[in-house]
């Protein structure tokens, strides 16, 4: 661009410095975690034992709670993503097509959870869950309802960003004028064009659910994060290793989201 630089736009060097500082802020704890997993107790030397122990049946029996926790988190991921796909997505499409006036209201409702700290959310959720447990039992999946709320802002944004670039009203009218019923319009026209937004919403929901600690802990549920805290009390190395793995997984998901959007934009430019 040849347009003169606005006062608010930082220069190239300023950008680099800021980015490096932020990058460092994130890199230091992660590198420290990695370094920590290779430490050999208090001796000060390095060892691979903590990593190899993961495959050692004699030692890893005590990680059993972690396996349960992983399974629980898996269930929660599935329930949460299903909630996003079955409740949020159809609502958003319906609002876009038939009730455009409700768009602001929906946006407000979906963004609210991000303004409420998890700890405050839990205060409200405790009495709710005393009822939920009576109705749905105390199995882990019902925690997905709470997570459905916490992921709302992220999922909403991801889908809305995609909806904003697709004129679903005109596309569905065109499809209907060509003889398509509503089901066909949804499956053959709207969903294929929202694919990126839907995938991004699902991935970001997974990342949020895998990182959730506060609600699960205060509602006395076991998920990956609560189990990690518990294990860290007996074996800090394993806890850190699993935190790293979870982090790496979330990182891969975020990279995938990024890739999805760049693939889309490259195609548009071609």
């Amino acid at each position: 661009m040849s347009s003169p630089r606005l006062g608010a736009t930082p220069s190239r060097t300023a950008r680099t410095i800021i980015l490096s500082l932020v990058g460092l802020l994130f890199a230091v704890p992660i590198l420290a975690m990695i370094e920590f997993t290779f430490r050999d107790g208090l001796s000060g030397s390095y060892t691979l034992t903590h990593w190899t122990n993961l495959a050692n049946p004699a030692v890893n029996a005590k990680y059993a709670p972690l396996a349960t926790a992983l399974a629980n988190s898996g269930v929660l991921v599935v329930v949460t993503v299903l909630l996003v796909l079955v409740v949020l997505l159809p609502t958003m499409i319906l609002v876009e097509l038939r009730f455009p006036r409700l768009r602001r209201v929906l946006e407000f409702i979906c963004i609210v959870p991000i303004t409420v700290p998890a700890i405050v959310l839990v205060v409200g959720l405790v009495p709710v869950y005393s009822v939920v447990v009576k109705v749905a039992g105390s199995s882990i999946w019902s925690l997905g309802f709470a997570y459905g709320i916490t992921v709302l802002p992220y999922a909403y944004r991801a889908i809305q960003a995609n909806l904003g670039t697709v004129d679903v009203v005109t596309l569905s009218e065109a499809a209907r004028s060509l003889g398509a019923g509503w089901a066909t319009v949804l499956l053959r026209v709207i969903l294929p064009n929202l694919r990126r937004g839907i995938l991004a919403a699902a991935f970001i929901s997974i990342a949020v659910v895998l990182g959730e600690f506060t609600i699960a802990s205060l509602l006395n549920r076991v998920n990956l994060q609560t189990a990690l805290v518990l294990i860290s009390k007996s074996d800090p190395y394993v806890a850190v290793i699993f935190s790293l793995l979870a982090l790496a997984f979330a990182f891969v998901l975020l990279l995938l989201i990024g890739r999805l959007s760049t693939v889309g934009s490259r195609r548009r430019k071609a």
């Binding site: 004129d167 005109t170 499809a175 209907r176 004028s177 060509l178 019923g181 195609r267």
Partner: protein, 351 residues
């Protein structure tokens, strides 16, 4: 595609569309389009022309009245059962499908076998001049090309009615003229009944068999382009169709007197009194000598003709259309003459 006539009649009977906010969008609108006819719905924005088209498409439910296609009442039929082809103002190609798959969409809905589907889609693309563009996606096509594909997509199912909702308004001027002529050619070839919504009077006059000028949810006048142009029945139509000068005049004895010249009235029954006269620029001539004189304010070259604005002694500005060879210069004094064509008048409203 076969070239046999397969147009259907389209009939709107006293259609009312009320959104519940203020005046109705359609106010007991009746319209009859004959098989194979190209009818343009013309009017300023907010006059209800698009709403009228959308009720025919079934995209908008009517409050009262009925719509029939080919003699069958379709008022309560959903859009996808009405067997229509429609082209929209905004680009409406499915972005995840290439041009050919877009064109095949309607055929797929009608469960046409793959082989025939492909063949007809390629034929339709050929028809709109885009043979060989089948594998392009919407983002790889220009605006004009996208609307061509949309036209092919609308026509490939051989619908009974073609609905065009300002399909040209997003295109630039040159492509617009090109494509409108092509639409007219294809429409004539296929003999498909077509409703064409536009706010561009030149476009409407150029392509339509009949033009319906709409205002406030009603049809003000419907007729051939010539009839609308030469015999506007209301001052609104006179002003909307073509460029008109508005001059003060007085009606008396079946004539209207404008600047001392008596001109015949389109509607001789107008009550006597002061009126505003709508006079077309081509009904004024620049002559070497005449009673009415003025000073040229500006002049513009329009290709096949020239249009000058002349300031009359009473400061009224008058547009005059004349031959290109006659070059006027700003500041030049010219004499004017009215050709004596019939004019429409409007009584001055008393404030």
């Amino acid at each position: 595609m076969d070239a046999t006539s397969r147009g259907a009649t389209v009939e709107l009977t006293e259609v009312v569309k009320n959104y519940g906010t203020g005046a109705p969008a359609l106010d007991t609108l009746s319209l009859h389009a004959r098989p194979g006819e190209f009818v343009a719905l013309l009017g300023p924005s907010g006059c209800g022309k698009t709403t009228a088209l959308r009720t025919v498409a079934g995209l908008e439910a009517v409050t009262s009245g009925s719509i029939s296609i080919d003699g069958r009442d379709v008022t309560d039929q959903p859009t996808n059962k009405r067997d229509l082809g429609m082209v929209f103002q905004s680009y409406s190609l499915f972005p995840h499908l290439d041009a050919q798959a877009n064109v095949e969409f309607g055929l797929r809905m009608r469960r046409v076998p793959a082989g025939e589907r492909r063949e007809r889609a390629l034929g339709a693309l050929e028809m709109v001049g885009l043979g060989g563009f089948g594998s392009r996606f919407a983002h790889q096509l220009s605006g004009g090309q996208q609307q061509r594909v949309a036209l092919a997509r609308a026509l490939v199912t051989r619908p009974r009615v073609l609905l065009l909702d300002e399909p040209l308004s997003a295109l630039d001027a040159k492509v617009r003229v090109q494509l409108r002529e092509e639409i007219r050619r294809i429409q004539t070839e296929l003999g498909i009944t077509t409703l064409f919504v536009t706010h561009d009077q030149e476009e409407a006059l150029a392509v339509a068999d009949r033009v319906a000028v709409m205002r406030a949810g009603r049809i003000e006048q419907i007729g051939t382009p010539e009839a609308l142009y030469t015999q506007p029945q209301t001052p609104f139509v006179a002003e909307f169709i073509g460029l008109s000068n508005r001059l003060p005049g007085t009606v008396r004895g079946g004539f209207v007197e404008v600047y001392g010249v008596e001109l015949p009235l389109l509607d001789p029954t107008v009550a006597p009194g002061p009126v505003t006269v709508a006079l077309r620029p081509e009904d004024v001539e620049i002559v070497s000598e005449g009673a009415l004189a003025g000073v040229v304010v500006s002049t513009s070259f329009l290709g096949s003709l020239r249009r000058s604005t002349v300031r009359l002694p009473d400061d009224t500005l008058l547009a005059v259309q004349h031959a290109v060879g006659l070059r006027t210069a700003p500041g030049e004094r010219v004499a004017l003459r009215f050709t004596g064509a019939c004019v429409s008048v409007k009584h001055e409203e008393n404030p």
